[in-house]
Assembly symmetry: C2
Homo-oligomer: 457 residues x 2
């Protein structure tokens, strides 16, 4: 058996670990276009809003209680809360909160949620060691590039095997970004990536539980620790990512090495980042968008006989829950998504409250949705037909849902989303000031204002 696998392993893989470490440690500050720079600010703003918004969720309260058992030093802030914990605990908890509503950013090529593992790690580290905003933006762009390039190389096999790719590549993004913040040289950055490579986190079976948002949080913390270990001389394999029994070949049968260095330092994966208008898994978005369009066309829930949905098989595989009982389960139900779109025209966090999921008219409409799969339809698209009680049919085809790369949310959309998340936690005034500060993060002399505004009075 061992010989068979050894023979199948690619022992001539290119030096992925070195290539990425070299890039992270030597790429110039702001060495990219104004568009990339702006996208980085959009990514950070969206991530921070999601984290603040979930600050009172039980996933945060519960993980904070566990972190408090370690009597942590008050090095870094929990976003949207008054407590401070050590920077590892803050990386963990902010990573958890930012993914708790399933409302964070998505790199659609890989379904990685890129910011959670990276931004959570560097904001906590940066607050403690007092970096400026430029260092944060630089580290985030580079860290996201690392995790998404590795994801590109392994997707889809890695994901299909069962890995929640956000946590199982995110520790590399976190390690890379923290290594950059710490100013590690290429060799030590290789060590940081190598130590992190032994710690992929997360299986898809956890979807629908608090362990799903634990994945980016755990990845943030693991990568941050890996960079700190490397700083102090801890060693790892120089080929930890690419070797026959290294990380990539152990966790994925597909490894397209060309994804690692194609246009490295010229094109940036953060350019492909997207932000969710709806507080659920990205694969449901076309269906919600389509049903919101039905609503805009005048279709009313009580006139509907049935709704016929045609989707890519992955949609039902990930979100096929017919009868969700809680808000969290609702996020894994394309049927509930359709009901939200048609009844409310939106699907923010408030549409995923437990009482909404169990409201009789919602339950009734959900039962009228039939979904069929069709591999010829893209994961980004949906075909929806509403058959009304009067015999009329209304048809909507969505090629790219709002929030996709092709049909992105505007800056104003993002600010509105941020406001809806942050205002209930930090209030109107701080929310407005914070938005303005975040658009200027790259020029901030330190992180004090951002931190102060991100925590309630």
């Amino acid at each position: 058996m061992s010989q068979v696998i050894a023979a199948a392993a690619d022992l001539n893989a290119p030096p992925v670990t070195k290539t990425l470490a070299d890039f992270v440690s030597t790429h110039p500050s702001q060495g990219w276009s104004a568009e990339v720079e702006h996208e980085a600010h959009r990514t950070f703003l969206n991530w921070l809003g999601c984290a603040i918004g979930a600050a009172q969720h039980e996933s945060v309260t519960s993980s904070l209680a566990a972190v408090q058992e370690f009597q942590p030093a008050p090095q870094a802030s929990i976003l949207g809360r008054k407590e401070r914990v050590d920077m590892g605990g803050a990386a963990l908890i902010n990573g958890i909160s930012s993914h708790t509503f399933d409302f964070d950013d998505t790199h659609l090529k890989t379904v990685i949620h890129p910011a959670g593992p990276v931004a959570s790690a560097i904001l906590a580290l940066g607050e403690h060691i007092n970096t400026n905003g430029r260092q944060i933006i630089d580290a985030m762009v580079l860290g996201i590039d690392v995790e998404c390039r590795v994801g590109n190389a392994m997707y889809p096999d890695h994901y299909h095997r069962g890995w929640h790719i956000t946590g199982s590549t995110g520790m590399l993004g976190s390690a890379a970004a923290c290594a950059r913040i710490l100013g590690l040289d290429t060799h030590k950055t290789m060590m940081a990536l190598g130590i992190a490579a032994s710690q992929p986190i997360g299986m898809r079976e956890q979807f629908g539980t608090m362990t799903k948002p634990f994945h980016p949080g755990g990845a943030a913390r693991a990568g941050q620790m890996s960079a700190l270990l490397a700083k102090h001389g801890f060693t790892a394999s120089l080929r930890a990512l690419e070797a026959g029994r290294g990380y990539m070949q152990t966790v994925s049968t597909k490894n397209d090495w060309s994804e690692i260095d194609r246009d490295l330092g010229k094109s940036f994966e953060i350019s492909l980042n997207t932000y969710k208008p709806f507080a659920c898994g990205i694969v449901i978005h076309p269906a919600i968008d389509a049903c919101a369009q039905l609503r805009a066309q005048g279709v009313k829930a009580d006139e509907v006989e049935r709704i016929e949905l045609r989707v890519h098989p992955l949609v039902l595989e990930l979100t096929g829950k017919k009868t969700p009982k809680t808000g969290l389960e609702g996020k894994f139900s394309v049927y509930h998504g359709c009901a939200m779109g048609l009844i409310f025209g939106q699907a923010g966090e408030s549409e995923y409250a437990d009482d909404i999921v169990n409201r009789p008219d919602v339950v009734a409409l959900r039962a009228k949705v039939n979904a069929t799969t069709d591999s010829d339809i893209s994961e980004a698209s949906v075909d929806v037909k509403a058959i009304l009680k009067n015999g009329k049919e209304v048809h909507v085809f969505v090629k790219n849902a709002i929030g996709s790369v092709e049909n992105p949310m505007s800056d104003t959309n993002l600010e509105q989303k941020f406001t809806s998340l942050a205002e209930p936690i930090i209030g109107k005034q701080k929310t407005a000031q914070l938005i303005s500060a975040l658009w200027n993060l790259g020029k901030a002399a330190d992180l004090k204002q951002i931190i102060q505004l991100s925590t309630p009075n």
Copy 2:
């Protein structure tokens, strides 16, 4: 692609998560034979000696420096050192030190080193929350049973794929043991195992670097944190271990579910634990033993023309380094192991010093060793022939090396090994007192004496 994998997945797996959690949370204290109870004390003693012995190694100094960056509260002790850190940091560092010399225990059926992830987690937790010795022994027996049973189910596929099985099952042992120490009920123990299931640690490519001992340390810490999260209400999938996209099916193509509950609570995997007489990977032990037997038969290094070694293919796959340059590399060289056996008749940590590995007579003898592989020979055996310059041949066949289940180290052997490791760090008097205290750990009212004796004056 996704459909193919989903079809291959076993969606009817038995309730592994529940079965193991039920066992861990309800099995009676000391609910096993006197032999199992004694083996638990041997396991703990051997583990503690290895951890103390490596206390000044750079893997410990370096990881301690990283942990200090978090300004940890002094909750728990670093074995063999004066520093105290938080219980998570102590679990990590003691797990690292206990595996640094590659001298710790081995469950030969799976090549798991069982104590590192489990004992490191519970001693740190137990010191902080002030448990007694009985709780430690109970938790260790149960935790080791969990990790080794999961290992039995997945071995060898999981290992051949590239996972360092100690870290990639150890987080479950740690979570189980910490859940037991915390007195979690069955449901919360399921949550602890579930959270841990998302955090397998370690690839074999890291062998020969500090990240190898990081694997049990990281697993100890991950499992401990998982139990604390579960205590505070954090949730995970109820089928996190066994589901189609759960941990076991994601990280292994082979899953023999019957290994989970066969004689569960009646036979204990710790009974199969073994302790190394030699400070290197277990697969080299038969070769060292055989060469030490050649020496005992009067064969001298300078009389040797060449040594012909016949070994199982795995031996060269894992330890085929022809020309190691450092002590650490020497541990992955069956050639160096043979030289140690013939020149010194032993292979303790001092035989893996850098200067020994590079000593001219050692280098010369190493070059005379030829190894061929033969899948008909067991991994536990070796066939060695010394061809002398005078034409004479001396033949030794080792069926089971000293330290195997069939040919175990005696309690006295274990005490001698412990002494050789601990005396240079904590001194003669404390070492003798500690050995005596450790044989009585199951009756200790608290852990204070063990901790006090395990740290230098």
